[in-house]
């Protein structure tokens, strides 16, 4: 019904739950503002004509109290209107703040000048993102170099991707189709070419598309499999009846141990806890875990470690996605450390006159 107010060519595509709500506020605000503009311009034009120099309009006396009453009146009126708009906009914002629990989780990494995404089953894409229609999708964003901003006009969705930090947002597409994905935080030479596509598909098409993606088991995925195959999940999962500490989000955290000590969860601690579980028992738990000495290979321990760290360590999100680490970060005029394995990944922005990377989207 609101759509009727704006002709189609002036309306951006609206393809998410949030888009409809934003458009409603937008149109409401547009109506209020137009009314105010019309009022002001109308009065100015009327006065300008009626009281033009030398016109015959009557210019009688004005009572002095009018001024004060008018002032108070329109101060209160504007304040009321503005607070009302704030309340409306804020309530929409608060209502849409946290994503539904069952949302599909997608990691997004911005890099000069491309978007890399990784879906729930490890499907990776560059400058493209396939999502099913009607399902909430939660985006976890980060960046490898500078600040980028993930913008999908059709979803009224925008969130900055910050280097070494994680931000998040979510959407729920309502219409199948292909939509622009744009970078809106200026990020250097090819900022305007850092564009891609969001492809919204019917759920069954999406499922089919997923199966066509090449299997790409990373270390963490292997760890996830081991975690259930070797029985770790039997005790450490949230719903387990055995009293064992949950391992979600503990990477890099410090945990209290028996005897008042604390330990930081890192590779060494995880390895020790698998091989010599009775040594550093977390305070409040019984030493019931058997040792896995000789039962797990070094590679398998690494995979489990990768799984525990996966997604919990914001500093290592890029590592867990198996994307190039941010070795290109160095001060101007400096070279990256000698040990940097992939010099070629250095941002083209660091090399004057270097051509932009070739991934121009269709």
């Amino acid at each position: 019904m609101l759509d009727a107010l704006i002709p189609a060519f002036l309306r951006p595509e609206s393809a998410s739950v949030q888009a409809a709500k934003v458009d409603a506020i937008f149109i409401g605000l547009l109506l209020i503002s137009s009314a105010i503009v019309l009022l002001v311009v109308g009065l100015v034009v009327t006065f300008a004509i009626r009281y033009r120099r030398g016109s015959s309009a009557k210019r009688g006396e004005m009572p002095t109290i009018v001024s004060r009453e008018f002032e108070v009146g329109w101060t209160a009126a504007t304040l009321f209107i503005f607070v009302f708009i704030f309340w409306w906009a804020a309530s929409v914002e608060i209502g849409a703040f946290s994503p539904p629990k069952d949302a599909i989780e997608i990691h997004v990494v911005g890099k000069q000048w491309m978007w890399k995404t990784q879906g729930p089953s490890g499907t990776r894409e560059i400058n493209e993102l396939h999502v099913p229609v009607g399902a909430p999708v939660r985006l976890l964003l980060t960046s490898q170099d500078v600040i980028h901003s993930f913008y999908v006009p059709a979803f009224r969705l925008k969130r900055d991707a910050l280097p070494y930090q994680q931000t998040e947002t979510w959407f729920q597409a309502t219409k199948t189709g292909t939509y622009h994905l744009l970078c809106t935080e200026y990020c250097g030479t090819d900022h305007s070419r850092m564009v891609g596509r969001i492809i919204v598909m019917e759920p069954q098409d999406y499922a089919q598309w997923l199966t066509r993606q090449p299997e790409r088991d990373g270390l963490a995925e292997l760890g996830a499999r081991l975690f259930s195959e070797r029985g770790c999940s039997g005790c450490h999962n949230a719903g387990s009846k055995v009293h064992a500490p949950s391992l979600a989000g503990i990477w890099n955290q410090s945990v209290p141990l028996e005897g008042g000590r604390t330990a930081t969860v890192d590779e060494a601690y995880v390895r020790d806890s698998i091989l010599q579980p009775e040594r550093d028992v977390v305070a409040g738990y019984e030493p019931i875990m058997p040792s896995y000495e000789g039962k797990l290979s070094d590679g398998e321990i690494q995979a489990l470690t990768a799984y525990i760290r996966h997604g919990t360590d914001r500093f290592d999100l890029i590592g867990s996605l198996n994307l190039a680490p941010a070795q290109n970060i160095c001060a101007p005029g400096q070279t990256p450390p000698e040990s940097a394995p992939n010099q070629s990944l250095r941002s083209p922005a660091m090399v004057p006159g270097a051509p932009a990377s070739g991934d121009t989207p269709p």
Binding site: I36, R59, G60, A89, Q112, T184, R193, P332
Partner: protein, 563 residues
Amino acid sequence: MSGASSDASTLANPRELDLGLPVSYLAEGRSVASWLFTTDHKRIAILYALSITFFFFIGGAAATLVRLELFTPEGNIVGADTYNKLFSLHGIVMVWFFLIPSIPTTMGNFLLPLMIGARDLAFPKLNLISWYLNMAGGLLTLAAVLAGGIDTGWTFYVPYSTVFSNTFVTLAVLGVFVSGFSTIATGVNFIATVHYLRAPGMTWFRLPLFVWAMYTTSLIFVLATPVLALTLVLVIAERTFNLPIFDPARGGDPILFQHLFWFYSHPAVYIMILPAMGVISEVITCYARRRIFGYSFMVYALVAIAVIGFFTWGHHMFTSGMSPFAALVFSFLSFIVAVPSAIKVFNWTATLYRGQIGFESPMLYALGFLGLFTMGGLTGLFLASVPIDVHVQDTYFVVAHFHYIMVGASVSAYFAGLHFWWPKVTGRMYPESWARFAALLMFFGFNLTFFPQFIAGYLGMPRRYYTYPPEFQVWNVLSSSGAAVLAVAYLMPLGYLTWSLFFGGRALNDPWNATGLEWRTTSPPPRQNFFGNPQVLAPPYDYHPEATPPGDEPRIAEKGALT
């Protein structure tokens, strides 16, 4: 003091009252040194006028190239890097070397002492130093441009500016840093002048609104600029000395940079608009022949904007990853700051009621200001609403919004003031019909340039794109054609105002029949501004509080034309 001068050249018209003043400030010394080492606030204002005009056309040239490039969706006139340098140059030069100094350092410098009946600013030497600092900053920035340019945008966001950009960021940032001292010095000077040098009888609530606008602007100068200065020092330190500060790779927080940057840069918008509001209050009252409607509310609104303006910077950061709680707080405060602006618009409109409205060129600019400022202000409400801002942040919607305020409103007011006080400053009249044509052309060109950008932005076109998806082309073509019109409109005053300096008719002391102390001296005023000590006996805008009788109108000697 040389006493009464019988030199007829001080008077435009033999029928005018001879105020017995010595020769004008323009005639006191003609050497270059007499200008470069002057401590006369009026001459320093002229120096500023020359430098900001120079920077205005540099920034304008960059904007022309930007609009030319955006005519087509493909990048085909300049390269991506050049484009990035052009919009950065446009932003940096226009913000710090044109808009921020524009009205305060030219009209403010010239008129503030005149309007309060003072001989000069409180610290005349500091005033001169601040012009040199401004020039030094501008030249450093230009040096960065000549050396190869800077491509960070005017916002210098980290870590792009500190770690990734290969351009001459340090030099340009240093330029802005130096010009900051100039701004602070001007602010200190204005505040001290208003407090200490008002003429007898010039009480706070008799100050012209232009003086109030200068005073509140100075408040922002003094309290916001240092935060920018420190932020820029941090950028320079991180870039030059490799100190870890904002670099996220070493634990720094880039969002903190944005807080510090916008703590200055949001109030900076009010630095640009408050002086414009002051000018408009003077012009509208004069050509409507009416006392300003609700003087005290106009004063409260100026102060409220200056103070509350400091609370709202976070609305530039809704999508930045700032905490959603803070976003709501900033959203609320941003709505509140719109209230005093609305009050001002209503009061200007009400001032027209029952006036004798004339449409001389300053009034045309002022009426244009009213419309454009209302548009710009109301679109600000869209940006203060978090969900809408998430959609239009960093799109052309934002570009259009702030150009409506900073160019539509602020530059219109600058031209309104320029035409209004031109006779006082130069002692010459400009060709009125040309000025009216330029005013109308500017209004038309401006709307053609920037209104389509609202639509492009709402449809989703991001800013700082040098190639863009082809569906946005129609809006960009409209916008670029408007820019061509606007360019012509901006060049016209340069032509006819320069012409008037040599061939314009002599101005009367008070050609507009205006009130205000600045009209109670010769055009142009002498070095000492006044003879004896002016006394103020009445409130400002002493036009016609009740009904305006016919025949009360400006007394322009001749409505000149270029022929």
